[in-house]
Amino acid sequence: MKKVMMGNHAVSYGARLSRVDVIAAYPITPQTQIVEELSELCADGKLDAKFIKVESEHSAMASCMGASAAGGRAFTATSSQGLALMHELLHFSSGGRLPIVMANVNRALGPGWNIWTEQTDSLAQRDTGWLQFYCENNQEVLDTVIMSYKIAEQLSLPVMLVLDAFILSHTYEIVDIPEQEAIDGYLPPYKPEIKMDVDNPHAFGALVTPDHYYEIRYKLQETMDRAPEVARKAGEEYGKLVGRPYDIVEPYMLDDADVVIVAAGTLVSNSRAVINEYREKGIKVGLLKLRMFRPFPTKRVRELLAGKKKIAVIDRNISFGATGIFYQELKAALYGQNNGAGSPDIFGFIIGLGGRDVTLEDIAEIVDYTLEKEKNEEDIIWMGLKR
């Protein structure tokens, strides 16, 4: 069934189709409609889940941990300040190997208060052991919620899916809602191997000495290493089911491209439009869309960008004192490939912080800059900065 809906409601529908057992969430602009819609669905009996109206995001994540540890499928959604408040528990939930799924609406952090889109909130959580997926449109948002549970529960790791504030969260698009029956076949009820169980009592998360801790962390990383393949398969299988396959990274007009844009979230759509214009003029520009950011899809990125000369990374985020975060990650992934011979020149653009509009002209400017420059001379190329 097709319906016109805002990105936030696409999140709610995704959670509903995933038959979540427990939802614990706290409102924050621009995520509020996710919470509102889900609490209505629960109140109307359209979703058989317990909705815990917690007093903070910190308790939202803590409640999800408790629910997940007891074998429930747990869901939450937040944004910006709320995500930052959860930080300690992001480590706790991944370390506890709990397959919680969370939607984060990308929003800038204060001060000053800014409710508009920026990627720094989620990217700053990159070292917490959560998988991260960035969505380009509302359809992808709904589909990614469902796929996230598929992936999370196979890996026993939590997954965060990310959508841009307002550009997706509050924008209405046509979204195809899959049949519940189809999703039930794709995503069977959550049956963890171990959980809090009075008939089989164990202690979870007990004190761990240096004798064991190191190996436990190694296992987490080992699981992360398996995640790209598990996620790829989950996207493929989902595609067979509903006719919309997803991959962890998605190339667009990449094969013969002289300049490759690398982007995530809605910046991808802008880039596509600009690429189409350049292609009409015979200029070979291509795109690599990063859907998965954690674990970083290093292997696929290397394969797809092998032999490329120039790459333009678009960051709507910043790691203060360093650079744009996608830029850092991409450089790290490509560094020293082919013994350094012929490795691409990578240009790092920062743009649109705090929700400043990113227009097609801005993207065109990024492409032109990259085409013109012989070599990259700066770690940050500030776009549209009023100096």
Partner: protein
């Protein structure tokens, strides 16, 4: 009285094992033993950062015969809310979920989550074993530390001038179905209240005064004695409060001097005559208030 009541009032099965890591004379370890005797094995325990994170034993061991979820310092009440919700979804509403936190995790850092859960009337049992300081990190003051007590952050020349936070009053103001105080020196009362709590739906809160020999500067064979002095001196009344309104005093001791309780502990060593008189005054005043609430 010329007959002896031989009804076994303390259940025999043990759900806490030897080999745990508590200090000798730890009130908190005895408290857990009694609590699990009362609740039985259809129980799940949530333990935030506190001495009990250590007492329960390191991976891969466990000192308890029931499942334990070790969690972050400030999260006991929120984790319990989520766990209970998941169990309800699975049709396992008969399982007792018990959050088991220290005073730091209750009065201070976990206070917000506790207040939230209490206001929502979540169906679990929250227990605070109250040793009146952060013992796990080496005896620092909490908002439960009483007036005049020594801790490493309230040294004798810069002691705590503020009274202990009234957590019972605060929880009563949330009008939760059941609230009680218990002492390891009164095990029958202790067991009865835990069993009562288990039978009630909604939020239950139990405070245990929990002597800590290293933190209170007492000999490790004095914990029961000191627990009893706290009750007899009316410093720690044994009570129950239902729905924030119906107060019951379970014991009305004649009221020995607070001096007996204070002098038994090294942490009150530097109190002056004036301080003791002030504390006595406060205890008497609060007792009168309590009596009024009961009647």
């Amino acid at each position: 009285m010329n007959h002896v009541d031989i009804q076994p009032r303390i259940p025999e099965p043990e759900l806490m094992y030897s080999g745990h890591l508590a200090c000798p004379g730890c009130g908190a370890s005895l408290a857990m033993r009694y609590a699990l005797k009362a609740l039985g094995n259809n129980t799940m325990v949530i333990i935030p950062a506190c001495c009990w994170s250590i007492i329960a034993g390191p991976f891969p061991y466990s000192a308890l015969g029931v499942p334990i979820y070790h969690t972050a310092f400030e999260t006991a009440a929120a984790v319990a809310s989520g766990m209970k919700a998941a169990l309800d979804q699975q049709g396992k509403s008969d399982v007792t979920v018990m959050a088991w936190a220290g005073d730091g995790g209750t009065y201070d850092i976990g206070f917000q989550a506790l207040s939230g859960a209490a206001e929502r009337n979540e169906d679990f049992l929250y227990v605070c074993y109250d040793n009146e300081a952060y013992m796990n990190t080496g005896i620092q003051r909490s908002s439960s530390t009483p007036f005049g007590a020594w801790t490493t952050t309230t040294p004798e020349n810069h002691r705590k001038e503020r009274p202990k936070k009234d957590i019972v009053g605060i929880l009563a103001a949330h009008r939760i179905p059941y609230l009680a105080t218990v002492s390891v020196a009164y095990p029958e009362d202790f067991i009865r209240k835990f069993q009562k709590a288990r039978s009630i739906r909604g939020m239950k809160f139990i405070q245990i005064l929990s002597p800590c020999p290293p933190g209170w500067k007492t000999a490790d064979d004095q914990s029961i004695h000191i627990s009893r002095l706290a009750v007899e001196s009316r410093i720690f009344p044994l009570l129950e409060i239902e729905h924030g309104e119906k107060y019951t005093l379970n014991l009305e001791p004649e009221g020995i001097s607070v001096r007996d309780y204070l002098e038994a502990q090294g942490r009150f060593r530097k109190l002056s005559e004036q301080d003791v008189a002030y504390i006595q005054n406060e205890v008497d005043r609060k007792w009168e208030m309590l009596k009024r609430q009961v009647s």
